[in-house]
C-alpha cells in the first residue's frame, strides 16, 4: 500500500500516512463541517496500514484548533493505534502542544483517559509537511 498524503486546507489538517517510512502525521487546524466524511477514508486506510507498520513507527498530532466532531475522529484514530499497540506493536504517539495552552493539553488528557493510550507531550508546533 502506498502512502496517503492529504494537503492541508484552511479547514482541514495535512495528513501523511507512510507505512514504509513508519510515519503518520496530522498537522493543522481540523474544522471540517462533516468530520465523518473527511476522516472516514483516513481511518479505513490507517486500519489497513497498521498491521504492516513496524516497531518504532511514530504517530504525530499537531492540531492547534479542532472542533468536537474532529475530537471524535481523532479518538477513533487513537483507538486503532492503541489496538495495534495492545497487540504488541512498539509505537510512539506524540501530541504537540503550545506552551501555556489548556486547549491542546486538556485534549491530550481526554484522549489518555478515554483511550488508555500513552501520549508523549511535546512542546512546539510542527510546520505543515
Amino acid at each position: 500500500m502506498g502512502p496517503l498524503s492529504i494537503a492541508a486546507t484552511r479547514n482541514t489538517p495535512a495528513i501523511l500516512l507512510d507505512p514504509t517510512a513508519k510515519r503518520f502525521r496530522m498537522v493543522g487546524n481540523s474544522l471540517p463541517e462533516n468530520a465523518g466524511e473527511f476522516y472516514g477514508p483516513v481511518i479505513e486506510q490507517l486500519k489497513q496500514a497498521l498491521p504492516n507498520m513496524g516497531d518504532g513507527s511514530t504517530f504525530e498530532f499537531c492540531l492547534p484548533y479542532f472542533n468536537s466532531s474532529s475530537l471524535k475522529a481523532i479518538y477513533l484514530i487513537l483507538v486503532e493505534i492503541k489496538k495495534a499497540m495492545d497487540s504488541g506493536k512498539q509505537f510512539e504517539v506524540i501530541w504537540h502542544i503550545e506552551a501555556d495552552d489548556d486547549f491542546m493539553t486538556e485534549a491530550a488528557e481526554t484522549f489518555v483517559e478515554m483511550c488508555g493510550i500513552e501520549l508523549t507531550l511535546r512542546e512546539g508546533l510542527l510546520e505543515n509537511p
Partner: protein, 181 residues
C-alpha cells in the same frame, strides 16, 4: 430580529469595546475559519496571554459549527462580547423544527445533569463511533458544558410553518474584571 437592539452597555473602555465582534451574514466554512482567526486575535487583545484563551475561542467555534451545520437560512448572527468579567458568545440562526427541538433538548438535558453526568454523557457520545447525518459528533453542547459548566441557554421562536429562529448563548466567567485588567 436585530441583535443590536438587545445590546446592553458593557462599561468597557471605548477602545476595548471596538475590538468586540458582531457578525451578520453567510456562514460558510471559509467564513467560519476567518471568524476563528479574527476571534483568536480579538481574544488575545482583550484578554492578553492566558492558558484558556483557545478554550474560550473553542466555545465560539462549537456554536459556529452547530449553526453552520443546522442553519436552514442563509444568514446567521454571531456576537462575542465581554460584560464585566463575563464573556458572552451568542449565535442566532434559523433551523427546521427537528433541529430546533434537538437544540432545546440538548440544552435542557444539560441543565438537568450534574457535572459527573455531563462527563459521563460526554464519554458515551465520544466513544459511540457514530457521526450524525450532517457529520456532527453530537458533542458540541456537551463539550461546552464540560469546559464552562451549565452556562448555556437556548431560545427558539417560530419563524414560519416549519422554520424556527434559534438563539444560543454561552457565558463564561473570565475570573477577573476586564475593566481593571
Amino acid at each position: 430580529m436585530n441583535m443590536e437592539s438587545d445590546k446592553q452597555p458593557t462599561g468597557l473602555d471605548p477602545e476595548l469595546e471596538k475590538s468586540l465582534l458582531d457578525y451578520k451574514g453567510n456562514l460558510t466554512s471559509e467564513v467560519r475559519v476567518q471568524l476563528l482567526d479574527l476571534l483568536h486575535c480579538i481574544a488575545q487583545c482583550n484578554l492578553g496571554e492566558r492558558k484558556d484563551l483557545k478554550k474560550l475561542v473553542g466555545i465560539a467555534l462549537e456554536l459556529l459549527d452547530n449553526a453552520q451545520r443546522y442553519n436552514s437560512g442563509k444568514e446567521v448572527e454571531f456576537r462575542w462580547h465581554i460584560e464585566g468579567s463575563v464573556l458572552m458568545v451568542t449565535i442566532r440562526n434559523s433551523a427546521s423544527r427537528a433541529n430546533a427541538e434537538r437544540l432545546l433538548e440538548a440544552v435542557n438535558s444539560i441543565e438537568r445533569m450534574s457535572t459527573e453526568q455531563i462527563a459521563l454523557a460526554f464519554r458515551k457520545q465520544l466513544t459511540n463511533e457514530q457521526f450524525g447525518e450532517a457529520g456532527g459528533a453530537g458533542l458540541g453542547i456537551l463539550q461546552i458544558a464540560k469546559k464552562i459548566g451549565k452556562n448555556i441557554t437556548a431560545e427558539v421562536r417560530p419563524l414560519g410553518q416549519d422554520e424556527f429562529i434559534c438563539t444560543s448563548q454561552v457565558s463564561a466567567d473570565l475570573g477577573f474584571d476586564l475593566k481593571r485588567a
